[in-house]
Symmetry: C2
Subunit: 597 residues, 2 copies
C-alpha cells in the first residue's frame, strides 16, 4: 500500500521564511491566521487527508465511477462517507468569504491545504476543486440573488459545482460552441446542447450540482464574442431554498480515462434545461476566465502534489529495498545487500523529484499569496503589482509545474523497478493521475502561448519587467555574500538566458508570430526554472540564517542547502539549452507541408 504524510514542516518553512506571512498581518483575513491557527489547520488537515482520503485512493482508482441506467453516477466505495466528513469538517470553507459561511482565511492557506488533499487523493480533490472555481465566478459576476441562492450551500460543500466549456468538436477554440440558450418570458433561458469532459458532471456526493455552462443565447454572434455564462442547477431551487424539480440536464456517459478514475468525467446532455444568466450577456468568456485562472493555479499544484507523494513512496522504497552493494564498498555488511539508496543514480532520481517538489511548493504558495495580495494589499500599487505578477506566472505555474510533476512522478516510479509498474504499489496511479494536469484547464502548449502571446505584452510588458527587476535586485542584494555565491551566480546566468530569450521574442515574435509560437514552450520552461532558482536561493539564505543562528533542527536546514545546491547544479543548467531552442526560431518547424506529417 502506498504511503503519504503531509509535509507540514516544509509548508511552514515556505510560509514563514519565503513568503514572510507575518508581514501581512494587517491585511483582512490575515490577522486571524496567526501561526498557531495556521499550524492547527495544517495539522488537522494532514490528519484528515492521511486518515480518510489516502486510504481510499488506490481502491478508488481500481473501482472507478459507475453510471447507472437512469443516468445517475456513483463514486467509488468510501467516497460518499469521506465527502460527508470533508463537509462536516468544513474543509472546503477555509478561504471562502465569511458572509457565505466561509472561514475567510487567506487564499494561501487554502492553497497549502489543497496540496495535501491532492497528494492524498487527487481524484477526490476534483469534486471540491471544481466547486471552488464555480464559486469564484458567481462571487465576481453573479447577482446578489444568485449569490444568496447558491453560494452558502456551495461554500459548505452541501452542493457541488462544475464548469461546462468543452464540446465534442471544440476545446481550446470556444468560438465553436454550439450549445444554445433560448430566452424565456420569465428571464430564464432554456439550454440545449452537449458538453464533454465535465468533471463531476454527475455524482452521488452532494444533493445538488450547480453547473456553470457556456452557451450562445439566441441571436448572439456565432463566435467567441457570442458566449454567455449560465447557472444550470441539477435540481431547480425553490424560493425558500428547498430543492425543486429535476432540471433537463443529465449524464449521457462517463469516460474511461488513463487516470483520476475516481473523478466522474461526464458527457452532459442539456435538453431544454433551465438556466440563469450570470453577469452580462455575451460576456461569458470573461466570467469563465475568473474561474479558469483560479483553477490553473490549482492544476499546477496537482503536478507538484503527485510528484511529492510519488517521491515519498520512492524514498521509502529506496531505504527499504536491499539489492547489490554500494560502489564504494558495502554499507550494510551485516546484510546480504545494501539498501539501494546508497547508489548515486537512485539518489539522482530522488533528488530530481525532491528539488523540484520543494521549489514548486514555494512557487504555488507564492502564487496563492499573490492572489490574496491582488485583492487585499493595502495600496492600489501593491494590488496591481501582485495582480501583474500572478497573471504573468499563472501559465508558468500551470504549464511548467505540471510538465515537471509528471516527469518526476515517472522518475519516482522508476525507483521501484518492476514494482513501479504493478498497480498495487500505487506508483502507476500517481503517474496516470498526474498526466491529466498537463492537458486540462488549457493544455500546456496553450499556457505557453498565453504567456508569450498575451502576458508578456500586457500593459507594455510591465509585468515581465517587474519580474526581471525583482530577481535582479535579489541577485544584487546577495551577490557579495560569499555563502550565497553558489546560488546567485547560476541564477543570474539563467536570468540572463531568460532576458535574452525575451529580447529575441520581442525582436522576432512580433514580426513573425510563428517565431513566437515556436519559442513559446521552451520559453515557458526557462521562466519556470528561473522562478524555482529564485525561490531556492531564498531557501538557501533562510537555511544559512537558521543554521548560523543555532537552530534546534539543524538537519532540516542542512538538507535545504543540499537540495538547493542540487537544483542549481542539475536543473537550472538546463536554461542554456532551452535558450538555444527559443532562438532556433520557426523556419524549420514551419518548413514541412502539413500533408507531409
Amino acid at each position: 500500500m502506498p504511503i503519504y504524510a503531509a509535509p507540514i514542516k516544509d509548508t511552514q518553512f515556505v510560509l514563514k521564511h519565503i513568503l514572510n506571512l507575518d508581514k501581512y498581518a494587517n491585511l483582512p483575513g490575515f490577522a486571524d491566521a496567526t501561526p498557531d491557527v495556521i499550524n492547527a489547520v495544517l495539522e488537522e488537515g494532514a490528519k484528515f487527508v492521511e486518515q480518510v482520503l489516502q486510504p481510499i485512493n488506490l481502491s478508488g482508482d481500481r473501482e472507478g465511477c459507475t453510471r447507472h441506467a437512469d443516468g445517475s453516477v456513483s463514486t467509488p466505495t468510501g467516497y460518499k462517507e469521506a465527502y460527508r466528513q470533508f463537509v462536516d469538517g468544513g474543509w472546503g470553507t477555509l478561504s471562502a468569504p465569511r458572509e457565505y459561511g466561509g472561514q475567510n482565511m487567506p487564499h494561501v492557506i487554502g492553497t497549502a491545504f489543497n496540496e495535501y488533499l491532492i497528494s492524498a487523493n487527487m481524484a477526490f480533490a476534483m469534486y471540491p476543486g471544481l466547486t471552488h472555481g464555480a464559486i469564484s465566478s458567481i462571487l465576481v459576476r453573479g447577482s446578489d440573488e444568485q449569490k444568496q441562492t447558491y453560494l452558502p450551500n456551495m461554500v459548505s460543500g452541501k452542493w457541488l459545482g462544475t464548469m461546462n466549456l468543452t464540446e465534442p468538436h471544440c476545446g481550446t477554440d470556444l468560438g465553436l460552441i454550439r450549445t444554445r440558450a433560448e430566452p424565456q418570458p420569465d428571464g430564464s433561458y432554456k439550454l440545449t446542447g452537449t458538453k464533454i469532459f465535465i468533471s463531476s458532471g454527475d455524482n452521488d456526493l452532494a444533493e445538488n450540482i450547480i453547473h456553470l455552462v457556456l452557451a450562445k443565447a439566441t441571436g448572439a454572434p456565432d463566435t467567441v464574442k457570442g458566449i454567455s455564462l449560465f447557472i444550470v442547477p441539477k435540481f431547480l431551487v425553490n424560493a425558500d431554498g428547498t430543492l425543486g424539480a429535476k432540471n433537463g440536464v443529465s449524464c449521457g456517459s462517463i469516460e474511461h480515462k488513463m487516470g483520476i478514475k475516481g473523478s466522474a468525467t461526464c458527457v452532459m446532455n442539456y435538453d431544454g434545461a433551465t438556466g440563469y444568466l450570470v453577469g452580462e450577456r455575451e460576456k461569458g468568456l470573461q466570467a469563465m476566465f475568473i474561474m479558469m485562472n483560479a483553477a490553473r493555479l490549482g492544476v499546477g499544484q496537482q503536478g507538484m502534489a503527485m510528484s511529492e507523494v510519488a517521491y515519498q513512496n520512492a524514498a521509502h522504497y529506496a531505504k527499504d529495498r536491499i539489492q547489490g552493494r554500494a560502489l564504494t564498498g558495502a554499507k550494510a555488511p551485516e546484510q546480504k545487500a545494501d539498501p539501494i539508496i546508497v547508489h548515486p543514480d537512485v539518489r539522482r532520481m530522488l533528488l530530481d523529484a525532491r528539488s523540484f517538489n520543494e521549489g514548486a511548493r514555494a512557487f504555488t504558495l507564492w502564487g496563492g499569496l499573490l492572489v490574496d495580495l491582488a485583492h487585499k494589499a493595502m495600496t492600489e500599487q501593491e494590488r496591481q503589482d501582485a495582480d501583474d505578477l500572478v497573471s504573468l506566472l499563472t501559465p508558468v505555474i500551470k504549464g511548467f509545474i505540471t510538465d515537471k510533476g509528471y516527469e518526476y512522478s515517472t522518475t519516482c516510479q522508476q525507483v521501484l523497478g518492476g514494482h513501479g509498474y504493478i498497480e498495487e504499489w500505487g506508483m502507476s496511479q500517481f503517474v496516470r493521475d498526474a498526466r491529466i494536469a498537463m492537458i486540462y484547464e488549457g493544455a500546456n502548449g496553450i499556457q505557453a502561448m498565453d504567456l508569450v502571446g498575451r502576458k508578456l505584452a500586457q500593459n507594455g510588458g510591465r509585468a515581465v519587467r517587474s519580474f526581471f527587476e525583482l530577481i535582479a535586485t535579489y541577485c544584487n542584494d546577495h551577490k557579495s555574500d560569499d555563502t550565497m555565491k553558489p546560488f546567485i551566480a547560476p541564477l543570474e546566468k539563467s536570468l540572463g538566458h531568460l532576458q535574452a530569450s525575451t529580447m529575441w521574442l520581442m525582436q522576432n515574435g512580433l514580426a513573425n508570430p510563428d517565431d513566437a509560437g515556436a519559442a513559446a514552450y521552451p520559453y515557458m520552461h526557462i521562466m519556470g526554472l528561473v522562478c524555482l532558482g529564485y525561490l531556492w536561493a531564498q531557501t538557501a539564505k533562510a537555511a544559512q540564517t537558521a543554521l548560523a543562528g543555532g537552530t534546534d533542527d539543524p538537519d532540516f536546514y542542512a538538507n535545504k542547502l543540499i537540495v538547493a545546491q542540487y537544483f542549481t547544479e542539475r536543473h537550472l543548467v538546463e536554461t542554456s539549452s532551452l535558450r538555444h531552442k527559443v532562438e532556433a526560431g520557426s523556419k524549420t518547424i514551419m518548413a514541412m507541408a502539413a500533408n507531409q506529417f
Copy 2:
C-alpha cells in the same frame, strides 16, 4: 480507433542509404536477402501486423489476461487466432538458423519486422519476443540434444519460451536468488522456488512453454557465482518429441500492470519441477547475458516503436482536428477554424517525436546489423569491431531510446488534448505500454552503469575510442562540404561534449566510483544524442545526394532534410546541459544522510 501503417519506406531508406546493406551481400544469409526479398518481407509483414495484430491491440488492453482457478492463463480475445496466423506465416522464423527451421535471414531484417510487430501490438509481440531470447541461450549454450529437442518447435513458434530471473526479493542483484536445484540420479534437477514478473509464464497460445530458469544447485555458493541456468518445460518432452507429463511448475497469479495488459505477467511457482542444466554449472549468468543482450536491443526498439505509432495517430489528429486559427492568419478560411497542424507548437510536438523516431529507427537497425557483423563479417577484425561497437551501444539503445520513446509517446498524446487521456483513442495505451521498456531487462539506471562502469573500460577503452574515431572521421570527411555544415558543426560540438565527459569520467570516476555513478545517466543520454546526430547527418547526406541526382520522390528526401535540421536545432543542443550534469559530480548527490530522504 487508433491507426497504424508500417513505415516501409523509412525502413528501406535506412537499410539502403545508412546501413548500405548491399555492401554485405557476400556474407552468409545476406546473399539471399536481396532488395526484392527484403521488400517482400517488409510489405507482407506490414500487411500482417496492420490487418491481424493492430485491430486487437486496444481490445486486448481493455480485456487483459485472465488466470483461471486451475492456474491456467487465457490471453485476450483474438490473440490465439492471431498467434496461429503468426506461426503459420513463419513470422517468428525470419532470422532463425535454417537447421532448426528458420529462414536464416540477416538479424537486421528480423529487427526491421520486429518494429512493426511492436508498433501494432506491443503486448502480443512479447510472446514471440521472449521466445527469441530463450532460443539464443539454448543455441549458444545448450547441448546438441537440447537443441534438437527444443529449438525446432521454439523456432516455428509451436512452443514459446520464457526467461525466469526475478524473485520477490531480487531483481538487479541476482546473487540473492533463492530458487534451488537439487541434482537427481538421472542427471536432471528438481527446481523449487518462486519467480515473479515472468512474461508469458503461462498462456493459451502455444502447446508447450520452455522456461529458462536461474537457480542455485545444491552446494553452490550462495552468491552470483553460484547461479546455473536450467531448461524447465511446462510439459516434459518424451524421447520421440511428443509431450509427456505436466511438470511441477505453475502460474500462481498474474500481475495487474500499468500497461502491456495483453501480455501475461506471471508469478511462477516451481515445486520440485524437473529441469535440465544448460551449459556448465554455475555459469548461468553468462548464459543468461546472451539472452539479455539480444533482449535489450529489442526493448530499445519498443521505445521507438511506441513513439512511432503515437506519432502517426497524433499527426492524423493534428491534420484532422479544426480549432482556432493560424497565428499568421486563416489557412482554411472556408472552414470555421484551421486544422491544428498550422500551429508551431503542435508541429514542435510532432517533430520532437518524428525526429527522434527516424533517428532511433536508424540506431536500432544499426544495432541489428552490428549483431550480424559480429557473427558473420569476413575478418576477425571486422567481427571484433562490430562486437565492440554493439556491446558499447546496447545499453545506450536500451536506456536512451526507451527514455525518449516514453517521453515522445507522452508528447504525442498531448497533441490530442483531452481525447489523449480517454482510453478509446489509444494514446494512453501507447504511453502505458512504452513505460515498461524503461524498467525491464535492466532498468535504465542499470544500463547507464553498464555503459559507464563496464563498457567504457572494457579492453582498455578500445570500443569507445573506435566509436569516437568513427564519428570524428565522418565529421572530417564532410566538414568541407558546405551543404553539410549545418549538420556537421553541431555534431562535432556534441562529440566534443561527449569526449570531454568521457575524460571527466576517466579523471574522476576511477578515483571515486560515486562520481561515475552520479554521471552515468546524463552521460548515457549524451551518447544517445551523438549517435542520433551522426545518423541524422548521414541521413541528410543521403537526402542531398538523392535530391541532387533527381529523385522521383523529392518530398520524401526534402522531409528528411527538414527533420534532420530540426533534430540538430532542438535535440542535439541538449548535450551541453547534459555535460554540465556529468561534471557536477557526486558531492551534492551523496551529501545527504540516507535517513534524511
